[in-house]
């Protein structure tokens, strides 16, 4: 329940961006899409439990 989750997502985004640059420079363009996908999945893994606890909380409070 802390702010560092936003920083973690930003870090994953930055790493993916840097990796893409490195891959592009070294001539392996075909891997950039894979790296982006992997980064996206990692960020999703970070956010999803967060969102599910939020919806679980709202469900319990409002009796949905």
């Amino acid at each position: 329940m802390d702010i560092e989750i936003i920083f973690r997502i930003a870090a994953v985004g930055l790493i993916v961006a840097v990796l893409n640059q490195v891959l592009a420079r070294s001539g392996k363009e075909e891997y950039t899409m894979l790296v982006t996908l992997a980064g996206l999945i990692a960020a999703l893994m970070l956010v999803l439990p967060y969102i599910s606890t939020l919806f679980g909380y709202v469900r319990s409070v409002f009796g949905l």
Binding site: M1, F7, I51, L54, Y57, L64
Partner: protein
């Protein structure tokens, strides 16, 4: 408490601006995470407000049957707003409209019994006149 929200909002604005230029999909993810975070910081007060609400409604005795429905409608409205805003922020205004339409429909279906009760009340009153 409000300063914590301010801190979260400021951090999110900066990170969104940064990520939008480099990797737009991560910007949307950070948007959703920040929205959830803001909600969590005020979640404590939500519990106490709900307790106060239930206490007064039960004390009134008449409306307690519909208090549950009212809370359900509030919950659906909250979640629909959350989803619709996330969609609208990432540029999907059409999707946001669909989500809001679905939310309104759900809320209406939740409110049907209350409407029926009101109509019955009115018809019974008019028969009595």
């Amino acid at each position: 408490m409000i300063f914590k929200l301010l801190g979260i909002a400021a951090a999110e604005i900066v990170i969104y601006a940064l990520l939008r230029r480099i990797r737009p999909e991560f910007a949307v993810l950070s948007e959703i995470a920040a929205a959830a975070l803001v909600f969590f910081t005020v979640a404590g007060e939500l519990g106490s407000v709900k307790a106060f609400f239930e206490e007064t409604v039960n004390a009134s005795g008449t409306g307690s049957a519909y208090a549950g429905i009212l809370l359900k409608i509030l919950g659906t409205a909250l979640i629909t707003q959350f989803a619709a805003d996330a969609a609208r922020d990432s540029g999907q205004s059409a999707l946001a409209e669909k989500i809001e339409f679905a939310g309104k429909l759900l809320m209406l279906s939740l409110a049907l019994p209350v409407l029926k009760a009101v109509l019955q009340l009115i018809t019974s009153l008019s028969n009595g006149l």
